[in-house]
Subunit: 168 residues, 2 copies
Amino acid sequence: MERPAIRRLQQEIQQTKPFVNSQHAAGLSLLRTADQARREFDSLVSPMGISVEQYNVLRILRGAGEKGLPTLEIAARLLEQNPGITRLLDKLEAKGLVCRARCATDRRQVFCTITADGAAIVNSLDEPARRQNQQFFRGLSAAEVDTLIDLLDRLRYPETKAENEREI
Amino acid sequence: MERPAIRRLQQEIQQTKPFVNSQHAAGLSLLRTADQARREFDSLVSPMGISVEQYNVLRILRGAGEKGLPTLEIAARLLEQNPGITRLLDKLEAKGLVCRARCATDRRQVFCTITADGAAIVNSLDEPARRQNQQFFRGLSAAEVDTLIDLLDRLRYPETKAENEREI
DNA sequence: ATTTAATTGTTGACATGTCATTTAATTACA
DNA sequence: TGTAATTAAATGACATGTCAACAATTAAAT
């Protein structure tokens, strides 16, 4: 639509004002889009009786295999703080989707593993999740998805960008 | 062996597999980046005694001016469902940052307006918020920010993209 | 070796988000 | 007119996220 015009306008003025507005718009767009993605994905997993966060925990534990992972290691792989993970695991354990056991060598740690029931649920969601993702990104080409990944990664790690983008 | 069949299978795998992974990676990156943005912004507004969501409500009400907005109209402009907004406004009203009054012509509606104290807080956060945004997007050029806005918008409204991108 | 510090995980308190239901007011319609 | 449907907002119940404080265990220090 008017994107090129907007960009030209910004170059013309080249002051802080429209630059700020673009960044503000980008920030809002980021939050709104992520919220929509989270909501759509929730509607996919909730029929299985789990939340998006619980699904993520189960995915991580499936990837960890039989030896499982200590509690805080799961929290580290999510985007989450400690206290939340305990209660998440409480729920999953109550549903029989996760097992917890104190580590013998370091009794501070609690190792968590996925159960057969838990794995069955995650496995059954693999294909629907793939389709859901495909649906969500249907508006973007493969190259654009890669561009999006690049831009988002550079927002989270702005320092690492210096090496790859000196040619500006 | 059936070489053509094998080749076809490989092509299929090569097509779908990395594509799916890219979309999956993009989805995760989207959620993580938005979460980080939300968290960083929270550390900016929480010293003023308000949350990010409360800040957004105050911003919307400042923009609405003196006549204010009905409760659900605020909810519609946020990325939020009804029930949450009532309690958000409860907190803001308790802090004296927002006023609520039943509409005379339609007594179902409750009009919300920002108070002078509320406006003072939002105003005092304008400049810090601008700097914070600038800091968050420092890894991207202005053109890249526009690209990001475009990609995110097309994720939320995939249909509108069809007209502009038939040339693929 | 005994005290101190750090790590791992849990709990309590509270803010927010969501769903289902409810109340009050308004509109539709028969 | 009078009853049903719709709308605006609030409430209850519950899941999650965050902070502060805590207990248990292990590591470090002197």
